[in-house]
Structures are given as structure tokens and as C-alpha cells.
């Protein structure tokens, strides 16, 4: 029996009504009576010492309420921003995490670093006053490139990080890898740059801080993917207020892609300042500030080598990577190039031994942290560019080379040499499906046709894997995480049968209000319009670890299922009492409780009403119908699949035209296919952006951000992209009750490698991202 709007239905989204009518409540749409406006004076220099800050003239400017500097926050006992994941270097030492004050104390370390917070009656007054602040800078020589920062003699950015090194980490069996390489028939090598990206959710970050002097409660409205984590860090490490006196609300949030996971200086300063001036303060980032301060993504430089036998079977893989952390260590930055990267270097392949070493370092640039995929796109890019290079070296078809080396569908659970245990999948199935969709075998004819038209055609494959559903708490704890990564849910029936679901996950575009309601509709038979999903408010939701790492459904959804199970268990007792049967004889399906072998039945709504009006009720049972659950996953989930891109390049202009895109993804069970497809579209678009258009560029000498606006940083527009052809395969995930794997990051993980392999295939030579027309043209016109 299937349920209307239940699991598997492409239910149109509940949240859309408010968004398409202009009735959403994004952060900057919220205002408070008497609110003041905050504006940050930012460093114009990439690296400088501050000898003095003179606020005299600025404080006297019209409308100024107050101006704060780093010294004020330090004097008030506010702690520095933290990194929540400790990485241990090869030599056993902990990573270097230099102090990171919300407002600079004695030095600035990247362009845009916060120097002072000006609060005035209007934003214009705050901006005007900021211009009157006199800062004495002693300008130092900056370094923005990671390889240069880690080289001897580079400018020293933090005293606490000699040689600008954050950590020098390794994973895998070096001796086994070296031995395999020594005996290999073939070795292929590749050097890669994974370009730095700016996440660019369309809603810029913002914060509205309020203080209630009566209750001594602080309320922070903020653009966060994980408001409880923000509250925890602000309470436990920054000392803003105890958790019971700090309420964090993340209302409608206009996209995140990782960049709104982190606890930033601006939000911290805003809530702290609200108490200092005892007046609501609002800060809204403009896009220029977003480019300067939203944590960036990627920025790796890698060298990889693959050892193979005579038959093209992979023997061993070794990778050496330098990862740019930026000027300060952001909230989860340390984990991205290590446990979210090195652990995925086995890809979809049976590789007997793998060794990876990663040097992470500091530069005079914006902090780098998780961005859609976080480590896994970087891993897939290394693995899949490597596979194409190896196939080319062996004169094999790249898909045949992959099929030859895939982990086979009967091999699960499969333990990789880089500490992951893949639980399920069918990689050949997805690859063959994608090949069929794009008519892979017909490529040669299409290429000839292009050639006849003066164009260069290429085809490229990426067979990606990701570890999602982040994450089993014990596992991540043993790897250095400072928190557990479970999720919570409460399923609360109202007496009249409607349901409110409280989830610790946070939706900022993913459609939880619909997907989670479908779970309730399916399992408890409640009409979807009678289900309300509440998220993003620490005073409403019991607790939550938030949304990132494609974890909402696998972890947050599973917590809802656990709460539903408790509802069903309790309901059976009530049904048994009311229908005068034994609990063992009560059967349940989609919210209908029946007595086995009879036509007696009750609905969930009737039972919920009885629980709230317990006139005739089991003596040993508590009234009410609300259950909460915490769910800690047993394993990561492992979405995987194959994306194939086909391109046509105009040699006269170097413009790459994506002529076809076929994808077959295994996301396990799917609750809402429409939403899942949308997630893949968006992920692929961001991946194409990385491969063709996007790249954060700093001027090497001055450390100035060159790509600081949409005039300079090339965002994918509608006419840059094709329509996509996507399908799914399904091997249910065995480790969670919904059998789901996660779909939010897949596209961004698969796309860069698929597209770059297509371009390299067309050009017959390697090229780095972004493959702009100029770069492609130069590649065509160079020897």
C-alpha cells in the first residue's frame, strides 16, 4: 500500500509558497524596534602590524552609538574563534591553531580582516564614521600561494606556526606503497591544482543581535546551517553567554554550501556588541565582504602517482598534497584536506595500498574551509584525473580501465586501505548506464562530425564516491573531531491530529519541510498539509548538529524515524487498550492500527486524541503523544556514480561548449525524486563553475583579492550551462533505517573531474581549472 505524498513521491515543496510570493523571512528581512546598524572597518592590507587605532573623530561622528576594537573584546574576556577538529601530524604533534580574535588585536593577516566594529543609528552613519578611524599600519610582505608559504624563507604569518605549517599529516601504508611502486610494470603521474572557490550562496551572511536586560538573555538571528553548534561554540569557547541564556535562530537561509557552517567573527561581534550597547544591532554583509570573509573552498596543489601491473590492474596509489588554510584556521578547516579527503582516495577502485601525505599551511588569504563536497571533490579530482591519465598512458579506453579496476558489487562490506568501509554499491551498473545514456560508443562518429565543422570534441568520465551521512560519533571522535555528529528529532502530535516535527537539521534550500513531512505522511498516515517541520531555533528544537556533508536525511531523517518508532510503540498500547486486545495482536501500517484477524481498527489521529484526552486509557501509560530521539549513525553512507561530460571546443575562441551531460547516481532509497534531481543539477552546476569559470585570485605581491565582486569572479549563469540528463541507480544503504545515502554534494564532486577529463580528451594535453577560453585557446595554440 502506498501513501499519498509518502516516500518516493515527487511532492511539490511546502516551503515554496512563501518563497514565490515574497513572504520568506531571510535574515535581513527581520528588523527590531530601535535597532542600530553595525559596520566593520576592514584591513586594506594583506599583512600588517597595527600600532595604533584612533577612534576619537569617528566616535564624535553623527549617529555613532559606539565603536569597538579587538582590545575591547579581549578586555571583556571574549575568547578567540576555534577550530573544532584536531589533526595530528606525522611526528605525533597536534596541529598549529594560532589565535583568531574576532576583531584584530595587534596584526591583520588578510585583506578584509576585521579591525573595528562601528555601530550607528543608520548604516550610512556607521560607514561614514568608519572612514574617520585612523589606523596606523606597519605593512609587511604577504604570501598568498600555499607552495610559496611552505617554502623556506617565506614571510612568517603566525608566531605559533613556524614555517606557516598547520600540520604535516599522513594516512596509509607508505612502505607497502613504495614496495608496490618498485615492482610496478607501469607508473603514471599527474600534477594538479584544485582552484580556490568562493561559495557564494545568494543570501549574504547577516546577524541580528538582541539583549534582554531583564532576563539577561541574548538572541542571535544568524545565517547558519547549524545554530546549535554556533550556540555551543559561542558559549563554551567564546564566553558570549551560557547556553541557557543564548538563543540562536537561523530563519530562512538563502543557501549555504558549507560557508554558513562556521562560527565567524562578524556574528560573534554582533551578538557581543548587542549586550554592550543594550540595543539590537544588525549587520548584513554586502557581496564584497562576502568575497573577503566567507570561508573559501578547495585550494590544493597535488602530485599523484599510480602503479599498475602489465594488465592495467592498479597496484598502489600515492598522493602528496599542499592545502591552503588561509590566514586563520576556520571551524572545521583542518578536517577537510585530511579525513574528508585522504579517506576517499580509493575512489571506486580496488587498490591494494594507498599512501597520502598532506601539508596544510597558512597564507595571507581568507580562511578556507568546507565548501560543497569538502575534501571529497578534491579527492575525486585527484583520483579521476589520475585514472584518465593512466588509461591514456596505457592506451586503454578510460571507461574500460575503470571497469577493470572497480570494486565489484559482491565485495561489500569493502575495506579500503584508507580506513573507510564501503557498505554497498554497484559501480559497473552506474557506469554502463551513463555510457548508454550518452551513447558513449557513438562518440567517435560525433567527434569526426565536429572535426568536419572545425570544432574539437572531447568526452570525459568521472566515477566518484563520497562519504556522507556525517558521521558516526565514535569514529570521528577517534579521528580528532571535537563534537559528536548525531542528530535529534521530536515528533509531536497535537491533540487534533496534526503533527509538528522538530529537527536539528537545517534547511537552507534542501526542502526538509517537504521531505521530512513525507516521512511522517508515509509512516503515520498524517496528511502532508497537517505536518509542520520546525528547524533552526535553539529554543524550539532540543538540539541539533545541523546540515552539511549530505547528512540531513541519512542522520536527521533517521532520528525522525526513531521518534516515529516510539510513537508507534506507544500507540499500539493505547490501541490495544481501546480495542480490548493484547498489544502483541496490534498491527500497524501507515497510521492505521488494527487487531490482527479482525476488522477492528483505529487511526493514528484517534489514538493521539485519546492520548491527550485520556479518559479511557492504560493505567501504566503517560498521557500525551510526543517522542524525541537522538540518532547516531553506524557508518558513513557512500553515494557513488558516474558522470560523463561531452564538450565541443571552438579552437578560434577557446570556448568550451558542454554539449551533453549524463549522470547515473546511486543515492540509495529516495524520498522525493524531484528534490534529489534538483540537488544534482545544482551540484553539477557548481562543479562546472569550478571547472570552467570560477577561481579566487590574489595578487601575489600585494595580497589583494582580485576577484572581489561578480564583475571579476565568474559565477555560472543560465547561458553558461546545459540541461542535464540524470538518472539514479539504487542500492539501499544498509546502515540507516531509511536506506538513504545523501545527494547534496554528488554533482559538485563528480562534475569537475568529468568535465576536465572531457577537455583534456579534446585537447590531448593537461590543463588546470578553470578552463577559461583564454587558457584553452593558449593550450590549443602552444606546443
Amino acid at each position: 500500500m502506498s501513501v499519498e505524498n509518502g516516500i518516493g513521491a515527487s511532492v511539490r515543496r511546502k516551503e515554496d509558497q512563501r518563497f514565490i510570493t515574497g513572504n520568506g523571512h531571510y535574515l535581513d528581512d527581520i528588523n527590531r524596534v530601535g535597532q542600530a546598524y553595525g559596520y566593520f572597518l576592514r584591513s586594506p592590507h594583506a599583512f600588517a602590524k597595527i600600532s595604533n587605532i584612533d577612534l576619537t573623530a569617528a566616535k564624535a561622528a553623527p549617529g555613532v552609538v559606539d565603536i569597538f576594537t579587538g582590545a575591547d573584546m579581549v578586555a571583556d574576556g571574549v575568547g578567540g574563534l576555534i577550530c573544532g577538529w584536531g589533526i595530528t601530524s606525522k611526528d605525533g604533534s597536534p596541529h598549529n591553531a594560532p589565535p583568531h580574535n574576532s576583531l584584530a588585536v595587534d596584526a591583520v593577516r588578510h585583506v578584509g580582516d576585521q579591525v573595528a566594529f562601528v555601530i550607528a543609528d543608520t548604516l550610512q552613519q556607521a560607514k561614514d564614521a568608519a572612514e574617520l578611524i585612523e589606523v596606523d599600519y606597519e605593512v609587511l610582505t604577504p604570501v598568498t600561494n600555499i607552495s610559496k608559504a611552505l617554502a623556506p624563507g617565506a614571510p612568517q604569518i603566525h608566531e605559533e606556526a613556524p614555517g606557516n605549517l598547520c600540520y604535516d599529516w599522513e594516512l596509509g601504508d607508505k612502505a607497502a606503497v613504495d614496495a608496490a611502486f618498485a615492482n610496478a610494470a607501469h607508473v603514471s603521474k599527474i600534477d594538479l591544482v584544485n582552484n580556490r572557490l568562493s561559495p557564494n550562496p545568494m543570501e549574504p551572511r547577516a546577524a541580528l543581535g538582541e539583549y534582554d536586560a531583564g532576563s539577561e538573555e541574548l538572541t542571535l538571528h544568524t545565517t547558519s546551517q547549524n545554530p546549535h553548534v554556533a550556540r555551543l561554540i559561542m558559549s563554551a569557547f567564546l564566553g558570549i553567554a551560557p547556553e541557557n541564556k543564548l538563543r540562536v535562530i537561523a530563519p530562512d537561509v538563502g543557501g549555504g554550501f558549507g560557508s554558513k557552517i562556521f562560527v565567524y567573527a562578524e556574528e560573534t561581534t554582533t551578538i557581543w556588541a548587542a549586550r554592550k550597547i543594550n540595543r539590537p544591532v544588525k549587520w548584513t554583509s554586502d557581496r564584497s565582504e562576502a568575497f573577503l570573509t566567507d570561508a573559501h573552498g578547495r585550494d590544493h596543489v597535488s602530485h599523484a602517482e599510480l602503479a599498475m601491473d602489465n594488465d592495467g590492474k592498479i597496484l598502489a596509489f600515492r598522493v602528496s598534497t599542499q592545502a591552503n588554510m588561509g590566514a586563520y584556521l576556520s571551524t572545521f578547516a583542518s578536517a577537510v584536506p585530511t579525513y574528508l579527503y585522504g579517506t576517499l582516495l580509493s575512489g571506486q577502485y580496488k587498490i591494494p595500498s594507498i599512501y597520502v601525505e598532506v601539508q596544510a599551511g597558512f597564507t595571507n588569504t581568507t580562511a578556507v574551509d568546507a565548501y560543497r563536497g569538502a575534501g571529497r571533490p578534491e579527492a575525486t579530482y585527484v583520483v579521476e584525473r589520475m585514472m584518465d591519465t593512466a588509461a591514456r598512458d596505457l592506451s586503454m579506453d578510460p571507461t574500460e580501465f575503470r571497469l577493470k579496476n572497480f570494486i565489484q558489487p559482491d565485495a561489500y562490506p569493502y575495506e579500503t586501505p584508507v580506513i573507510m568501509t564501503y557498505d554497498s554499491g554497484d559501480y559497473p551498473l552506474a557506469m554502463n548506464l551513463a555510457k548508454e545514456m550518452i551513447d558513449y560508443d557513438g562518440f567517435a562518429a560525433r567527434k569526426a562530425q565536429s572535426e568536419a565543422n572545425g570544432k574539437i570534441r572531447g568526452i570525459g568520465t568521472a566515477a566518484y564516491i563520497e562519504a556522507c551521512g556525517i558521521a558516526p560519533s565514535a569514529a570521528v571522535g577517534s579521528l580528532g573531531a571535537g563534537v559528536g555528529l548525531w542528530e535529534s528529532a521530536e515528533v509531536r502530535f497535537n491533540p487534533t491530529g496534526s503533527v509538528t516535527v522538530f529537527t536539528g537539521s537545517h534547511s537552507h534550500g534542501q526542502g526538509h519541510e517537504t521531505t521530512f513531512a513525507q516521512i511522517i505522511a508515509d509512516k503515520l498516515g498524517v496528511p502532508i498539509e497537517s505536518v509542520e517541520v520546525v528547524h533552526g531555533d535553539t529554543s524550539k528544537v532540543p538540539f541539533g548538529m545541523g546540515t552539511y556533508g549530505s547528512r540531513s536525511l541519512a542522520v536527521g531523517g533517521s532520528a525522525i524515524v526513531k521518534a516515529v518508532d516510539k510513537i508507534v510503540e506507544k500507540s499500539k498500547k493505547i490501541a490495544a487498550h481501546l480495542m480490548e486486545a493484547s498489544v502483541e495482536d496490534i498491527e500497524h501500517e501507515h497510521g492505521v492500527f488494527s487487531v490482527a484477524g479482525t476488522d477492528k481498527q483505529m487511526t493514528m489521529g484517534e489514538i493521539a486524541f485519546a492520548a491527550y484526552v485520556p479518559h479511557n486509557y492504560p493505567a501504566d501509560l503517560e498521557p500525551g503523544m510526543a517522542e524525541n530521539a537522538f540518532y547516531d549513525p553506524l557508518n558513513f553512507t557512500f553515494p557513488a556514480g558516474t558522470h560523463i561530460a561531452e564538450v565541443e571546443i571552438d579552437p578560434a575562441t577557446g570556448i568550451v561548449d558542454i554539449v551533453d551531460w549524463a549522470a547515473a547516481d546511486d543515492f540509495g532509497n529516495i524520498i522525493n525524486p524531484m528534490i534529489v534531481e534538483g540537488q544534482v543539477h545544482g551540484g553539477v552546476a557548481q562543479g562546472i563553475g569550478q571547472a570552467l569559470l570560477e577561481g579566487v585570485v590574489y595578487d601575489d605581491d600585494s595580497g589583494q583579492l582580485i576577484t572581489g565582486s561578480y564583475m571579476d569572479y565568474c559565477m555560472p549563469r543560465a547561458d553558461d550551462l546545459p540541461s542535464f540528463r540524470i538518472t539514479t541507480t539504487n542500492t539501499p544503504c544498509p546502515s540507516n533505517p531509511l536506506g538513504v545515502k545523501g545527494c547534496g554534494e554528488a554533482g559538485a564532486i563528480a562534475a569537475p573531474a568529468a568535465l576536465m577529463n572531457a577537455i583534456v580528451n579534446a585537447l590531448g594535453k593537461d590543463i588546470d581549472m578553470p578552463a577559461t577560453p583564454e587558457k584553452v585557446w593558449r593550450a590549443i595554440n602552444s606546443n
Partner: protein, 155 residues
């Protein structure tokens, strides 16, 4: 301060504003119509798109005083008598939005696009929407939504 008067979503409005007030500020801050969003500061993203005398305009690129006497429609004024505009309905039906932040501007641009191109091809839709940035959808379902709406709008 300067007095500006205009019709917004069918209502006559008037206010004293600083001469450098942008139309989007007037709409958001004076009128508290917060469906029109600001996503950049270089007139690139299109989240602030509204209609001024029937044409789509990036309201961050126009001063409020320039709209004096104009007839302005924002996303809040698109639905009539509780009935969604076909473009709004198509965005919902075709999953043309995710986080929803760019959506009001995208819908306002798309309505104008279809007005000028009653039966637009995919290529026309993609070219015409070049001034509106969406980071979530990859545009696939936006294009689909606009196409579907154009059919429902009698194109």
C-alpha cells in the same frame, strides 16, 4: 530629503527619502516589502528585480527618485486575488527554486521575458536570464519553469 510618490502593487505610496536612496532600499526599508532581495553590490545578481512601468528593472540600479510617479510591481504584487501568477505556479510545479533567495528576482525577470518573447526557446530563456544569478538550481528547472509558464501564459 526629497518626497517621492509612486504606485507600488496598486497602492499609492509617498515618503520623504534621502536623494541617494535606491529604489530597492525604498521598497525594502520604507515600504517593508522584503520579498525583493539584495544579493550583490554590482548590479549583477538580479535578486532585486522588480517591474517599473511594466519593464523589469534591477531596483538596486535605480534611485527611488527616478521612480517618482512610476507604477512599480514587486513579487508581493504578482499574485492577483490570491491566485498565483502562472510564472509563480510554474516555479513551484517544476521545482524552479531551492533556497528561494534569488527567486523573486528570477520570477520578475521571467515574467518580463515571456512578455517580450511569448514562446521562448531554451536558448532564449537562458540568454534572457543571464542577468539573474541562482546558485542552487543549476538553472535546469528554472528554464523548465519558464518554458512551462510561457505555455500557460498563452504563448
Amino acid at each position: 530629503m526629497t518626497t517621492v510618490s509612486m504606485t507600488v502593487n496598486g497602492k499609492q505610496v509617498s515618503a520623504d527619502v534621502a536623494p541617494n536612496t535606491l529604489l530597492v532600499q525604498f521598497i525594502r526599508e520604507n515600504l517593508r516589502l522584503t520579498g525583493t532581495h539584495v544579493g550583490c553590490d554590482t548590479s549583477q545578481c538580479g535578486a532585486c528585480t522588480v517591474h517599473v512601468d511594466g519593464d523589469s528593472v534591477k531596483s538596486c540600479t535605480m534611485l527611488a527618485v527616478q521612480a517618482d510617479g512610476a507604477d512599480v510591481t514587486t513579487i508581493e504584487g504578482l499574485a492577483q486575488n490570491g491566485e498565483l501568477h502562472p510564472m509563480q505556479a510554474a516555479f513551484k510545479e517544476n521545482h524552479g527554486l531551492q533556497c528561494g533567495f534569488c527567486t523573486p528576482g528570477m520570477i520578475m525577470s521571467a515574467v518580463d521575458l515571456v512578455k517580450r518573447n511569448p514562446n521562448p526557446s531554451e536558448e532564449t530563456i537562458r540568454t534572457e536570464l543571464e542577468g539573474n544569478i541562482c546558485r542552487c538550481t543549476g538553472y535546469h528547472n528554472i528554464v523548465k519553469s519558464v518554458k512551462a509558464a510561457s505555455e500557460n501564459m498563452g504563448g
